[in-house]
Assembly symmetry: C5
Homo-oligomer: 339 residues x 5
């Protein structure tokens, strides 16, 4: 359910980005409103405490505490660490998108080089592409919660037409505790070799090209697996989270409006709600939310990659490419600029 | 209508960049003047309100509010978040330019390996290149508003000579809901295979090289598609926009010149127009405009990629390469440095 | 023992990252608690000294010193240098992960192109893959302390089944003082050539593809070796460390709560424990810990790459690929979408 | 006339970089002295105005204005935007250097695969390399002012021996409005194909390798063309320039030494020349100069790439490689370590 | 003499990096102690001047100057420009390491494809590898002062066994003023072609693979040459150096302890030695030293790449690979996991 807004911002006009502020789906408001409400409630609680519960002497102490918090909260370099951290998360996020395996290139080669219009040839082409898609689906199951929900067991993959019962049995019989996404790749290799032996693939250059393409698909699968396995170090995420959270804990007390009658510098007016602290909250926690949303783009956030759509699209396009489209060509005629 | 100014800045002299300040087309002034006028008008409105409408007590409250806004507006780290965000947008922008598919390399291979001077060979070469261009045009239609306006329906592509009626019918008959830019690629593959069978392409290495080149073109198309599909997360854009806008909303009040007679620190002179706030506006909103303009470089901004020009140039150059230029060679003679 | 937490952060909800704060394994608390205790103890020592040991005049001097430290500690741009340094370390860390050699691609090619079901062919395939794994293991021994502990001598590699006694003898007989991880690669080359001569590999394109794949594996090994050999310049690490440490040495004195009775600005309340300085410590030293942990990801930290697991997984998967999986294929049958 | 100083900084000793401060060619002084003089003169003009021309009341106003400028000039985040902008320019600059086409690799392949020692074979080899160089020269003419000055018309390319009259005529006859740098590439392709047909290139793998190499040369040419065509968005450059210039306009007034007798804070001493403002000018405008110089490295700045040298070097080396060096080999004898 | 410390930081424990602080070789202390002593001496000189030489009125002026310097020194954004500059230098430094040519991959291909056990075949293989190494050595001579000192004349290369007298004569006879590192590459090409003609290389795919590998080695050589030729623009280095130096010049005066009796704010205590200014010096100049050391990693700094070791290692490993290791293989026997 990726949120695409490229079209709205094609041309830079008066406040182009302002149009984006009114969206709800995938928006910062949707992600943030709970935290914002929580923060406001807590702020009001402390405000109520200070104004109505504490006695005079406790008020003085609270005021001291508040000014102390205000002064030292500035020491936490939230914007600095968020800038570097979010940049890192964004680059990993795009790296993950670029590792998404698309079988289109492979389909072109299989459609080109595995010749024949009999059923057996067709079966070979379709099965080859199904194996490539199956390998991707196995990886998605292990990295994407959305795909995992759709295919909670391997049986579901069979029902979805990505594999057959026979293949499932083979897969489960293989004695290995490790992720088996590479097994369909080996089936692909074996089937391609059989096609070469039977002459459906009629030269070694083509076979090598197909295997190279399969291998680059496999590399992408392994990259996805790597991104999932090697998260950003927990330590870094914790440091950033603690920085942001402790900053706003300090703000809960430090940004209270103190009694103007006491004449503390910078406290000569009581506005009840600290608009700018809320803005700051909106801003910093929003920035952190960017990281929370992008750190694993294979979930079910509004802005995550639509892996289930990918599974369907890739299967359909690859089967179309090697079946209906095989050797199909519109009449080749002179184009308009033929002189 | 890309704005190219490389030539003006070839040599660094006295104020090289100052020459660029006087341009209008693609300039910051053109992009920004509306926002700047709006901001100035709003500022003057508040100024007028403060000076002529409010009574004395309201003035004191306004002054308090103004100083509060001024102090806390500084808390919003606009420059920080803009720096990181714009850097990100710029790197995506260049990534998109590098994904633009140029069929030149493919034309060289088709011109080299698809042999024959009869009409059928010529037809094959021209059609192959037309397919490659058509694939690019289909992608452009889906990512570029400029190209979409030029070819609002597929029929327009036929009229422009990029495809034939027959091909359009084939394309529409294909039962798939997904973007069909890959279909001409499959036609290319099938036509290349036919050329191989007929012996026009006389060896398998050449065929594989051609298909590899086609696949790398296709990969570029998919990258463009990916950039369009997976926008920068909406959340990030919203956070940045809210930061910049709320900063200047606070400035509207916080940067008013307060009555010098009240003796507020830093308010001992009344200059009526806050030059530096306008400069800051110019500067920060200008920086945001860079992002607004680059986030989708396939629109019709002054500085967007000229995709329509690309469509024409690529079609012409590829047809020239495989038609007029086929086997055409000036007389090979001794060069000037011969022994 | 990599700490994987992708699954916990798949969806961004209310305080997604807050869930991560309660982990212990691989956490910042586990890494930092000793330093934090040390710092607190030292702080309390100075506090005790100031409050109970010093006489009045010494107290005044201490107060002067304290305020001096506080003012100038701010001059050390800790966050700046940490931001750049950690970004550098993180990019090297990921570069190292991307250089980890996975023999999967090679296994696919060996399984495809080295034909034959007799024992000799099987032996060739298994040995080829064993050589590739051995080469990786030799590199791991030299870059990873975890692997080194598992294989303290070459004899252990023999016992683990990665090499034979005969091979060890050959390896040790080779007169070269340099790291010999490349020797099994040359054996691989020689064995592949023998397989080509004997016709098990039946064409030159396949042989070249296999050798190219081996070479890219070898390149990854050399990259790991390079990362290990060329550390980040010691100077940079020292500068960063000195900056952080000296900042907190200054804080030990500069952040003491001074006697409120003396009326120093900003010292009107005594909270005994400087919560914000501890937070700052947690934060800056935690950031440094990220660097300490990532600078060599082949150690035994909670978050380091599991090289020993890699050695086992790679050996098993490559042997499976070329042995059990050789020419093994489930029955090819019509898939669900067969029209 | 690139300024190379690697050798001076090979070893880090006492003030290694200080040695570089005394250079004039390509130095910051040479680039900046005019701006610095201009700024100083303007500063002195305002200083003279304030001290000798204005009456007392005007002086007070000037002082107010000056302090206003001083306070608000700080609001412009010059260093921030310069840091990000210059980093961007530097990365494009290096990207441009990496896109410079070197025909060495192609020369090696042409020298290897186009066999024969008769004049016709030699002619083929030389002409092939001349075409590759011509293609580069055509691109340089369109991106580099230095090369354009050397070859203002195509006729000059003929005179320089890069093309023949006949080729010029062919080039001009081709009906296309677009840059024709790709035409010699097509001639190369056609000549290579002829060589293949005539048997001078005796296998298809070699031919494909040569064409692939040519295509990667061509890609580099197109990258240079792209860098030239798609400048950094004008908007960004203008924003940065306006930021720097307006900052120093504000400094002209804001950094004046005000009459110490008036007792303004921070104005208790009159040093006449604001050394630190000049340093700041030197520093910020110098940083901007880095961008001005690198934004188009194909001009005639001291530090620009020596494109004319490249044209000559590449032509000579490629002709040498395929002519004198063809099949030339010193006697192959036992090396020193032969045992 | 690269300083490798990966092993010491394999595990993050209590103050992992603190262990590195005690090293001398390649350390910041070794690089910096001269500058630090110089700075301290100068500081003491000014201190002595102020305390003992100046009369009362001059003291007052010095104090004014000092406070002026202190206030404005802050205006120089040293940390900002250093952060960006050092990041740039570090990325070039690693880019240079990645361009170091390792002939291992080429040796594998030569060992694989150049067949034969007679002396002539052996001679061919050894000579091919020697040429590849010679090409690297010629580049090192021109980029690395360490290698240049070892081989001040070409004659030294002959003595070191990298080339023969005959080859030197050929090299010197070639009429070209440009760097001739590419000449041995052409010899390689010619010798490889001869081996192909004589049938030692028995197929065209292998030949093409070998030439492709040679070309990628050559590309790395050219990259090293490019890094050496195109230094970071002198302007950038000068701007950074001037910023750092002028900052500390200002500190020499601005950070003097002024007479507490005068009651200047922030000058109520005299500590004689400005510990924090020295720390700042240590820190900023140390950061600059990182750049000084990395800007040319082919010198003789403690932390530079050991190019001489590389020359030796590469020659030995490549000769071993194609000579002793040619067709050498331990007995192929069943591995431990053979079912």
């Amino acid at each position: 359910m990726t949120v695409t807004y490229s079209r709205c911002v094609a041309d830079a006009g008066l406040g182009t980005f302002s149009r984006l502020l009114l969206r709800w789906k995938g928006s910062i408001y949707k992600l943030l409103y709970r935290e914002l409400i929580l923060f406001t409630v807590l702020y009001c609680f402390f405000s109520w405490l200070y104004r109505f519960v504490l006695n005079e002497q406790q008020k003085r102490q609270f005021e001291n505490l508040s000014m102390y918090c205000d002064r030292y909260a500035e020491l936490i370099p939230v914007s600095f660490v968020l800038g570097f951290y979010v940049t890192l998360v964004v680059s990993r996020w795009w790296g993950q998108f670029e590792s998404v395996p698309w079988p289109d290139r492979l389909a072109a080669l299989v459609g080109a080089h595995v010749r024949g219009v009999d059923e057996s040839a067709l079966l070979t082409r379709r099965t080859l592409m199904r194996y490539a898609n199956l390998s991707g689906a196995l990886i998605y199951r292990s990295v994407s919660t959305a795909v995992y929900k759709r295919f909670p067991t391997m049986e579901h993959l069979v029902q979805a037409g990505l594999m057959t019962q026979e293949e499932l049995r083979h897969l489960e019989d293989l004695p290995s505790p490790h992720n088996k996404f590479w097994v369909p790749c080996m089936w692909f290799v074996n089937l391609a070799l059989r096609a070469r032996t039977e002459g459906r693939i009629n030269n070694d250059v083509a076979l090598t090209a197909i295997l190279a393409e399969l291998n680059s698909l496999r590399t992408k699968c392994m990259k996805l697996y790597g991104y999932d396995w090697i998260s950003l170090p927990l330590v870094y995420t914790q440091v950033v989270t603690v920085a942001v959270y402790s900053f706003f804990l300090a703000c809960l007390i430090g940004r209270q409006f103190l009694d103007p009658a006491q004449g503390y510098p910078g406290h000569d007016q009581d506005f009840y709600l600290p608009v700018f602290t809320l803005l700051q909250f909106f801003f910093y926690v929003g920035w952190l939310k960017v990281a929370e949303q992008l750190i694993n783009p294979f979930g079910e956030d509004d802005d995550d990659f639509e892996t289930n759509w990918l599974v369907d699209r890739n299967l359909q396009v690859s089967l179309l490419s090697v079946d209906e489209m095989y050797d199909s060509l519109p009449v080749v005629e002179r184009d308009k600029y033929w002189n």
